[in-house]
Symmetry: C2
Subunit: 436 residues, 2 copies
């Protein structure tokens, strides 16, 4: 991490040079010439706040309030039940899924919006372990995951295992040992592409290839990567994925999530959450479940219309955005943040625990500190919003669509100030909140 | 059905006398003296529409748009991630559940808002059949339901049965045969309290007692009753229930649903959809799932905040409403509608198929007609909104919170007119829409 932001390259992307100290003025120049500068205007960003928590809840698209108001007034309010046809609500899950598809490197027919990430994990995990080649092979009964996976991923696997009376079992290994642990006992590898705590990013292509060789499937949780790092699900051989709508996709609190299933697999998967919206003809009101032939079989109950409309405005913030360019900016922001923290706050107890190598890191950085919880509360008290993660981490996310270089510079100045003044010793910052 | 609305009783509730013909003027008098007249002002009701489809999608509470705007601006927009604490989003599912509780006759600690009705059906069905006394008894493996149940109820039971490889099976009988079919092979009786097609209402107390005697549980689907007929889950011995947020509870399109579990059972049920919000301490980010001790164990993923906020405004429309009085009005509206249709449209091909007896009927009426689909389209074209249900039914719902007696009178006048003119022969009304 000896890089530094100090000039803009010929293609408009930021160029990081070695050594020296970046100034606030140089950050302003980078912002003024940022080829992605135009997307910041697509968001509502409150005054006095530097928001480095878009990896937890994305900022609100400027169009979201109007879209919601439109749906409330012209849709639900005036059209009432008729809006399911006149506003085409019935196709919203497919429509917004198709908009997410290019962000994750899938075709429009491979993504659909539905339910929560947790519910979708259950659907695809259950569908994978009940495929005949798995169900008929008593040797292949392991869901392989990593001990430090995001909790809900592990919980859902535990719940499925209990429901199936141990017919499938969850085995966890350290993240670094995942690839070597895929043997012919493994039915599904359940992994999060970018780790929520450390920001570590797996090589999707290699892990998919390993799994394929062993005859296992991989279920990717894209919650901490989609919208922040380029994804190429099709090209990288991914078969199953789920992801969150309210992080980098800016869909709003508790936004619906989405699922990806590679086209050739869709008709082979049976979803136990067989609600009426997954039926081939829901409005026939037939007594027997016949799943839709396409991604709609991964729907369950009546879709959340208001939530999906908000999510659509978030996804549309990616229109005209080149994902490689987004990645360049994400890396430049992260490197700058890390460089400034290490130069200015390193001696004050902050230590970066995120991977150093660009290709092993998503769009976030985590730092350990002995008083991480109170420290983050104190930083938030000064208007710089990141979050705390157990046991001792402060975490900052970089959302290239709306984070500026000068935000990074100013944020680190605040963090240094809080550390120097030891503001975290203030008792008000030690009180635990419900959501951390 | 020889009753007639023609005077207001001493308690303010409508009194129906025998014989004679109700006039539009008499309807206006009933409205002017309606003790529930004050609740109509709580809703946005578009001009030129008589809405008799609140049993499918409830009308929009007048407060809904402002509540949504507040959540969008002050919450998500300005507070960003902090709103989970400052707006207490984390407790929304319990808070709105507690508001639903009195409407269904439960305690505040027995109801929680989550996911969709379909997903909640799966949770409670799976939890019921994995209780030790069921799982350890190979004889008790039947989910008993009725052949004409709402499709998603049947589909979810079919999905669970397939996932469990036939360890539990769905058995359906005609609705009238349900009570006699509960034997010691039955683990769970899965029934809808008010039938979506006919409006037939089951006697909850008797069915619960029958099931208890046979050692079976009952999972009630309240989607077509809660908010329209008084419910007394506790008093009637109900143990498990789910219901829909977007019908009589007015929660908006695809609103979150809710679950009810009798207090003593909550800690005994294991939910296979064990997402992180069901964990005893979600923000500890522990690796092992330990369910919350209370209703929160029936949550799964991150709750839909926007959807739950809209639902809250719908539920609050019941504030100050006496449910017995609501029922009186519902019955008076239904009787008046039926009386007028039979008097004015009976010879024109409409035949009521809903139960005649008040205590066997919810808050809706269905009529058969040879050209029911096109007929309903023609009626909707004239501003009276009901819906079509296969194979040959037009269906009308009566939502006492906002439907007036004069609406009933005017609606029947339109229906008679459409029938007399045979407007349904117009080809534009024969075109099938996606959602019927």
């Amino acid at each position: 991490m000896k890089t530094q932001v100090n000039q803009v390259g010929q293609n408009g992307d930021p160029q990081l040079a070695q050594g020296g100290t970046t100034t606030r003025e140089q950050c302003l120049v980078l912002d003024a010439t940022d080829p992605l500068g135009f997307t910041r205007r697509r968001f509502h960003l409150p005054e006095g706040v530097i928001y480095l928590d878009g990896n937890s809840l994305g900022a609100q698209p400027l169009n979201a309030a109007a879209a919601m108001q439109h749906a409330m007034r012209e849709g639900w309010g005036d059209q009432l039940i008729r809006a399911w046809n006149s506003h085409d609500w019935v196709n919203l899950p497919s429509k917004v899924g198709a908009q997410i598809a290019p962000i994750v490197g899938a075709t429009a027919e491979e993504v659909i919006v539905a339910d929560s990430t947790s519910v979708n994990l259950f659907k695809l995990l259950a569908a994978a372990v009940t495929m005949p080649e798995v169900a008929n092979n008593p040797q292949r009964r392991v869901i392989l995951s990593e001990a430090e996976n995001f909790p809900t991923d592990l919980y859902v696997a535990q719940g499925l295992s209990a429901l199936l009376d141990g017919k499938v079992v969850l085995r966890t290994v350290p993240r670094a040992a995942l690839r070597n642990a895929i043997d012919d006992s493994v039915a599904v590898v359940l992994v999060t592409h970018v780790d929520y705590r450390t920001g570590h990013m797996l090589d999707m292509s290699k892990l998919n290839a390993d799994a394929k060789r062993a005859g296992a499937m991989v279920l990717w949780d894209l919650s901490h990567s989609a919208g922040a790092v380029p994804l190429a699900l099709n090209n990288d051989g991914a078969e199953l994925a789920v992801g969150c709508g309210y992080k980098y996709l800016n869909g709003g609190p508790g936004a619906p999530a989405y699922l990806y299933v590679k086209q050739h697999l869709q008709s082979q998967l049976s979803v136990p959450l067989s609600g009426w919206f997954g039926h081939r003809q829901p409005f026939e009101f037939a007594s027997d479940y016949v799943p839709a032939a396409d991604m709609r079989r991964f729907l369950c109950g009546t879709p959340s219309v208001l939530g999906t409309i908000a999510l659509e405005t978030g996804v549309r913030c990616f229109e005209g955005v080149d994902m490689a360019r987004l990645r360049n900016k994400s890396l430049a922001l992260s490197r700058l943040f890390r460089q400034l923290v290490e130069a200015q706050c390193g001696a004050l107890g902050l230590q970066c625990i995120s991977p150093d190598a660009d290709d092993e890191r998503g769009s976030q950085l985590s730092f350990s500190h002995d008083h991480a919880y109170a420290l983050m509360q104190a930083i938030i008290g000064r208007g710089v919003i990141g979050d705390f993660r157990r046991p001792n981490l402060v975490r900052f996310g970089f959302t290239p669509l709306y984070t500026r270089y000068v935000d990074v510079w100013d944020a680190v100045a605040v963090i240094r100030d809080v550390l120097e003044q030891q503001s975290w010793r203030n008792p008000q910052y030690q009180q635990q909140k419900t959501v951390t």
